[in-house]
């Protein structure tokens, strides 16, 4: 028999549970389980009144374990952990059993079956709670420094933001100069400043701040340690190669993107006069008066959208995503072309126009100035050929005119090329960055945790996350600043203690667990003169991937030990009378 004192609370959820589960029968079935001293129902366990009742029970009955059978832990795990904490009970001695999403809602047509399942689930929860131990969050001291990789507009802005909060910054740029792609841009929307001017302004600000150390021609070659205290080795390649080691509390990755490079023959790429949007923008920036290409004035321009974006599945390594920025950039370029030459004829061949937000004004302006938009079907893309008179011949089926085929003669054909992920293979290996299906770096959640990665203390921002324009890149850079500063300014971080633990008595270091760990959280250490495994508590995510690989049973997951899991299975299969 157990000597534990456990309180069990079964929630009606106002009928969400009790309409399909006989909650009184569940209480009756589990009240005599080993360790249970209190078993009750409540209409809403999450209500203030019910929480007070639980707190009172914990104090009066001197409970050392708590089970609440209600909804998904996603919703109320932290609510009830807090209830336990307020009553003086260790929050990790609490178990939440999901009898709503996984029971009452799933078996609305079978009250008897749902009730039996609820009994089994609650018994399993009690069995686990019987073997819980008080756990303390893992507390880690943090170093007040941040490493920023990539000195484009996002990296530079993040550096300034962090320096202003009082955090020291190491800014590492692979190229000899800072500024990334934005530095090459001409007039930008909506402020009308040139990209170079923006970058120079940011660089001036960076130079004013002593706490920012900028390394150009440099790259990160090694990383060890964990959130709060990373040890990073930076290789500087000028003029003689040298390595520098730095200690930082967090890392922000802002490595940006690469422009899509069209294949030879793709929409006529390779023909005289067929160019990418970037090349056309350069032409716009460098032309003083009228627009001239190869000594001839440009009178007719055809733009083809979605080049390198939203590609079909039939292609190998197709880019399925929309690059988002190219519609805006192309319409913006078209307006600049109108400024140079109001008589210019511009034809935009698009699949869908996505000039969102204030960029709609650009679209309207282009329409007003006489730009014509033709919609083509992805399965019948426009054809670009060499025409007579040194002109290019573009043939397109326009869906807006019921699929009629038109021939347009153009001086230049501009391919609105999208963004592709930058080739960052080495950095991905060093930082263990999560790469998504599209090849860009993945955040944990695009809305709830938009700049955090699964690697604690490593943040991402800017176009390395996915196609973004410059203002969106800056916004995400500042989000990364806020997130990293919130860790570092406190001086310490507290992590969940539900992680793997090694029994050094049993471990003989075969290294299999280290290979199984997706986060590289298992290291080797010396214990009484022999080698054993050690779990880096700051890095371990508690996924449990290492546990079954251990042939000597030396690994256990705190809160979900082998003994706990076995006891839960026994409780689940127990006879229901």
């Amino acid at each position: 028999m157990s000597d534990r004192r456990i309180g069990v609370y079964i929630c009606h959820c106002g009928g969400n549970i009790s309409d399909y589960v006989d909650v009184d029968r569940v209480v009756k079935a589990v009240c005599d389980e080993p360790g249970v001293v209190v078993a009750r129902t409540a209409v809403f366990t999450c209500s203030d009144a019910a929480q007070q009742e639980i707190i009172q029970d914990i104090k009066e009955q001197n409970l050392d374990g708590l089970v609440v059978a209600s909804c998904s832990p996603k919703l109320h795990l932290y609510t009830f952990r807090d209830v336990a904490r307020r009553a003086g009970l260790n929050p990790y001695q609490y178990t939440q059993v999901n009898i709503r999403e996984q029971c009452s809602w799933a078996h609305t047509g079978d009250r008897e079956g749902a009730t039996e399942k609820a009994i089994r689930l609650v018994r399993a929860g009690i069995a686990r709670t019987n073997l819980t131990e008080p756990l303390q969050p893992v507390k880690i001291d943090t170093v007040p420094g941040v490493l920023i990789i990539g000195a484009g507009i996002a990296g530079l802005r993040a550096a300034i933001g962090l320096a202003d909060i009082g955090i020291c910054v190491y800014l590492v740029e692979r190229a000899p100069v800072v500024g990334g792609w934005v530095a090459r841009f001409g007039k930008m929307y909506p402020h009308g400043k040139k990209g170079r001017e923006l970058i120079d302004q940011l660089l001036d600000e960076v130079k004013k701040r002593e706490s920012i150390t900028l390394f150009t021609n440099a790259e990160v070659v090694e990383k060890s340690g964990s959130m709060g205290d990373f040890h990073v080795r930076i290789r500087i390649k000028e003029p003689a190669e040298s390595d520098i080691g730095v200690r930082v509390g967090a890392i922000i990755v802002a490595t940006g993107f690469d422009p899509y490079q069209p294949r030879e023959g793709e929409y006529g790429y390779g023909l005289e006069g067929v160019m990418t949007l970037a090349a056309f923008q350069e032409l716009l920036d460098n032309s003083g008066g009228r627009l001239v290409y190869n000594g001839r004035e440009i009178k007719d321009v055809v733009y083809i959208y979605c080049v390198g974006s939203r590609q079909g599945t039939d292609m190998e390594n197709a880019n399925r995503y929309c690059s988002r920025y190219c519609c805006n950039a192309t319409v913006h370029a078209a307006n600049l072309a109108f400024e140079k030459n109001p008589e210019i004829h511009q034809f935009h061949l698009f699949r869908d126009m996505r000039t969102y937000g204030r960029f709609e004004l650009l679209y309207r302006e282009a329409l007003k100035r006489g730009a014509t938009f033709l919609k083509f079907d992805a399965s019948e893309p426009p054809r670009v050929e060499q025409g007579g008179n040194g002109k290019l011949k573009v043939t397109v089926k326009d869906l807006l005119t019921s699929g009629e085929e038109f021939e347009i003669r153009a001086d230049v054909v501009v391919l609105a090329t999208g963004m592709v992920p930058k080739k960052n293979g080495k950095l991905v290996d060093i930082l263990k960055l999560p790469v998504g299906r599209d090849g860009f770096f993945n955040e944990i959640h695009p809305k709830l945790r938009p700049v955090e990665t699964v690697v604690d203390g490593v943040f991402i921002c800017g176009a390395c996350q996915g196609p973004k324009n410059s203002s969106e890149s800056v916004a995400s850079a500042l989000a990364a600043v806020a997130q990293s500063a919130s860790i570092l300014k406190k001086g310490y971080v507290e992590l969940e203690p539900l992680i793997a633990a090694v029994d050094p008595q049993l471990c003989t270091w075969c290294g299999v667990c280290a290979q199984a760990c997706p986060y590289s959280a298992i290291e080797q250490e010396q214990y009484r003169g022999r080698e054993v495994a050690r779990v880096n508590e700051a890095v371990c995510k508690g996924c449990g991937g290492c546990v079954p690989t251990c042939s000597r049973d030396a690994l256990n997951l705190r809160g979900y030990t082998g003994a706990q899991i076995k006891s839960m299975i026994d409780a689940l299969v127990k006879e229901i009378c």
């Binding site: 309207r364 006489g370 807006l400 085929e405 021939e407």
Partner: protein, 100 residues
């Protein structure tokens, strides 16, 4: 296949009487047209905007079938002056086709 002719676009633009640049090609105008003519006015305007002169000239009858009732105009979400544009096209036809 029709050839896009920017000179025609210029010609129309110079007149200062035709403006369908706000047209979103939604088709409300054609849907409410009491004459039930499929071509009027969204497709017709599109031919003009694209500069497909041949197609415009092919549709003389359609352009003259319009009742100028403005039902399309009051329903147009982009506030295009449809009737005014049709009037312009009739003037153009009178000059270019009928030499009046």
């Amino acid at each position: 296949m029709a050839l896009v002719n920017p000179d025609f676009v210029e010609e129309v633009k110079r007149s200062g009487r035709f403006d369908a640049s706000a047209c979103m090609n939604c088709g409300v105008c054609s849907a409410v047209c009491p004459m039930g003519i499929e071509l009027l006015p969204r497709k017709l305007f599109r031919y003009v905007l694209l500069g497909v002169k041949d197609r415009v000239l092919e549709n003389v009858e359609t352009i003259y079938s319009c009742l100028l009732c403005r039902l399309c105009e009051v329903n147009c979400p982009a506030q295009v002056h449809i009737a005014e544009n049709v009037r312009f096209l009739r003037c153009y036809m009178n000059k270019k086709v009928f030499k009046i």
